[in-house]
Amino acid sequence: MIRKLVASILLIITLVIPSGCWDMREINEIGLVMAVGIDKSPRDPNLFLVTVQVANPQGSGSSGGEKQKNESQVWIANAEGKTIFDAIREIARFSSQRIMWAHNNIIVVGESLARDDITPVIDFFTHNHELRMKTWMAVTPLSAGDVVSSNVGMGNAPGRSITEVFRFQNLTGLGLPSDLLNVYHDFTSENNNLLISSLTLNEALTQAGLADISENIVEQIEVSGLAVFDKNRMLGYLTADEARGLSWFLGESPNLVISLPHPQNQNKSVAVEMNAVKAKIDSRLNQGAPEFTIEISGSGHISEEDTFSSLTINEFKSTLENLAEQQIAAEIRSSVSKVQKEYRSDVLRFGKTVHVQHKKEWNRDLKYRWAEIFPESEVEVVVKVSIESSTLNQVPLRNYKELANTNDQSQDK
């Protein structure tokens, strides 16, 4: 009896142990992908060229101060394949570590591939169960491999620095937060087209404290605007300035700065930081043709003003508010008209608005002709800015030495 019991317990243990550990992999034995770039292969346009940036923990971690300065923080590999998965398996063939996607920060797609068809990229990464849907996605006019293998950033692994660029997008408005979830949504939606941020390299910054500057020019990655798609094909770019016009109403709580001419001194500027910006797109049907109103309201905050003026606070405030409203409206109008007239692709969520607000008409009629209707739709922009902060009462910084000089001169006369 006891023998049988012991035997069965031993059997269970032997059963459990080999079946349990099969998917165990130590954290130091896996390669964490930080960024991935996908291009068309230069040799054969039917092949994908996948470049991965894998973190090298030895370079970035700190084990008791024994950090090797020379060791790179990342390891970069590329491979070609008929499918993306094929290429990734190819990388696994010669890499020493198993590749893990869960910590991937960004997927960069080369322009040539995006202009051809972006479907395989979105498909592969939404199929992949390891990948997070909050991974950023970007298009680059350069080769995606170059962007992924560039050595950028301050301290972090390069892939993570790129993410930080995206994180603070609401401060610059140069692109839109295009993460995989948004992209997937727009891609599959019947009323909206894709809009993906674009990245470029900018060889400008130098690493401080290094003797030989020319050798240590560090490439800087920057968000340079947006790539406009029609269905699965990329049509072209919006520049950073044009992207800013869209981010007023498509971005997530844009926190942008506008520079306005000083009401009394055209050579001087006043900087106004916008916050609590609320955007609303409204649609109405005018004899079957949709018309749109983009309503923006927000409050401003004077952050730079160094010129004296003889205006009262109320006059100053209302002048500035008018100027700001005009400027924002102009930015939005030019971007919207460029999208409408040049690309003729609805990336502005207009179709979505009509779908929601006039469901019947959309389903009956509009959605079939949307590609023709969208470019011709009337768009009205209404902006309401209120500058309502204590900084209005703040006296501009004055230089007393200069003041004293001018006083002296006037007395001399």
Partner: protein, 506 residues
């Protein structure tokens, strides 16, 4: 031993010598009592167990005193029991014919007086042995609250409770357990408050114990507790009379065992082991805060090392990227998988714990230096274990010490191993499976009829005031339903609520 006292002093003495022997500590003292016409008497006692001064002053001196009224005729006619009771200056005098009772009295520390030609013995209560004075509690230190604790001796322990509970219904119901040790066991409860069924259950379970000796209270606990093979303690133990008295006032039953400075409280539920008297001695918000900290500590004690293993070996996607990179960097070149690393560290920790417990004070420093320096720092620097694991294991160890009950804390420390085992095999599924199993198991337990996981499951609304939360005293109007007290009302109205109703009235 069915015999009775014969009245023949020589025969009786011989019988006593046959029964309890003539050892070094046993004294047979012969006297002649002038007041009884020089009748020969025998006093039998154990030397270390009686109060010698009392024996000399209150027993021998009055007995041997020359009779003042020896010649008076009336004196002779005084019946012997009344004579003894009025002559001896001793509090307790009891007459007995039963040899078993007499022998028990002698070995318990009473003196026994036998008189020639009288067929009964007098049991004289003059116990008095060396015992430890009441001192500060050592294993349940509290910042505020009384500083006395139980001792090994029953009498002062009962006094400590009586000093706190002066209710007329307070009962100390004694029984003697253990064929050879003949240990006194006392059930303490308040008549009229305690639930009769539970009391009856405790009494029957105690009476059913047939064993040769009871050394400490745990002997009894193992006999009477439900689910004997469970590793969780199902009765609270305390050395604090304030805690024991509070339990009695909730209608629970306290079991005291002679020679054990800890009493046992029955019934108890799981949440009692996370509570501490200080919860009631400080502001109620602090009490609630401390309880939540302890709950968190219990959770950490069970899961910190398992969490490390399952995150680093199975679910790396659950770590923030920078943390994942840091741990990966620290683990470069570590020769073992995280699971084995964690097991080794946990076992080493328990070894250190065990070594430290019983070490002479002078050696204590050596253990801590060797433990922290060699095992902690050197092993990490040599790259044998990852530093993050040391943090995880140490967090678990510290957390386990935050659980007030030593028995519960040890049980939880032991449970870490199966949980860690399951986590190393199946990742988070194994971990959750193990934790769910433990929780379900806790819910299946009972302590003298009370579901062990109550009042959380089954949920008792009124008892929530004093389980994980600790509400202000005036709000706790009812006693916990745990012991199903006959009288569940602790207080009816409070001054404040009276004021409120007056204010709110029309």
């Amino acid at each position: 031993m069915q015999q009775k006292v014969s009245g023949d002093l020589r025969k009786d003495e011989q019988l006593l010598i046959d029964t309890i022997g003539q050892g070094l500590d046993t004294e047979y003292r012969h006297l002649l009592v002038p007041a009884l016409n020089n009748a020969s008497v025998l006093i039998v006692y154990i030397k270390g167990l009686i109060n010698t001064t009392e024996l000399e002053d209150a027993i021998i001196r009055p007995l041997t005193a020359p009779s003042r009224n020896a010649n008076e005729k009336g004196a002779k006619k005084t019946p012997l029991p009344e004579f003894i009771e009025s002559t001896l200056f001793i509090a307790g005098v009891k007459q007995s014919q039963d040899w078993t009772e007499i022998c028990d009295a002698i070995v318990s520390g009473d003196s026994v007086l036998l008189i020639n030609k009288y067929d009964a013995a007098f049991i004289l209560a003059n116990r008095g042995w060396e015992s430890r004075a009441i001192s500060e509690p050592t294993s349940e230190v509290e910042i505020r609250g009384p500083k006395d604790s139980f001792v090994e001796n029953l009498m002062p322990n009962m006094a400590l409770i009586r000093r706190r509970v002066r209710d007329y219904g307070l009962r100390f119901e004694g029984m003697r357990l253990g064929d050879r040790s003949k240990t006194d066991v006392v059930m303490v409860y308040i008549e009229g408050l305690v639930n009769d069924q539970i009391l009856h259950e405790v009494r029957t379970r105690l009476q059913k114990i047939k064993t040769d000796a009871i050394m400490v209270s745990n002997y009894i606990e193992e006999f009477i507790e439900d689910s004997k093979y469970s590793i969780f303690p199902k009765m609270e133990r305390t050395e604090r009379p304030d805690k024991a008295s509070a339990a009695i006032l909730e209608g629970r039953i306290v079991i005291m065992v002679d020679n054990t400075p800890f009493v046992v409280i029955a019934p108890s539920v799981f949440w009692n082991f996370l509570q501490s008297p200080t919860d009631y001695y400080e502001k109620y918000i602090l009490g609630t805060f401390w309880r939540s900290i302890r709950l968190l500590a219990m959770f950490l004690a069970i899961s910190s090392s398992s969490a490390y293993v399952l995150l680093t070996s199975f679910h790396q996607e659950m770590l923030p990227t920078s943390l994942a990179l840091k741990i990966a960097a620290d683990r470069q070149g570590v020769p073992f998988p995280a699971a084995i690393e964690a097991f080794v560290m946990e076992v080493l920790l328990e070894v250190m714990n065990e070594a430290g417990l019983r070490l002479p004070k002078a050696l204590g420093q050596t253990v801590s230096i060797v433990g922290t320096l060699v095992i902690g720092q050197a092993a990490v620097q040599a790259g044998l274990i990852g530093p993050a694991l040391v943090i995880a294991v140490a967090t678990g160890a510290i957390s386990s010490y935050a659980i007030p009950s030593f028995a519960m804390s040890s049980a939880i420390r032991l449970l870490r191993f199966p949980v860690l085992f399951c986590s190393s095999l199946f990742g988070i599924f194994g971990y959750l499976g193990a934790v769910i199993f433990i929780t379900l198991y806790l819910m299946s337990l009972r302590s003298f009829g009370a579901p062990f996981y109550s009042p959380i499951s089954p949920f008792q609304k009124d008892d929530q005031k004093d389980t994980l939360l600790r509400l202000p005293r005036p709000q706790m109007k009812k006693r916990p339903s745990l012991a199903k007290p006959q009288d569940s009302v602790r207080q009816t109205t409070t001054p404040r609520s009276q004021n409120k109703s007056e204010e709110g009235g029309p």
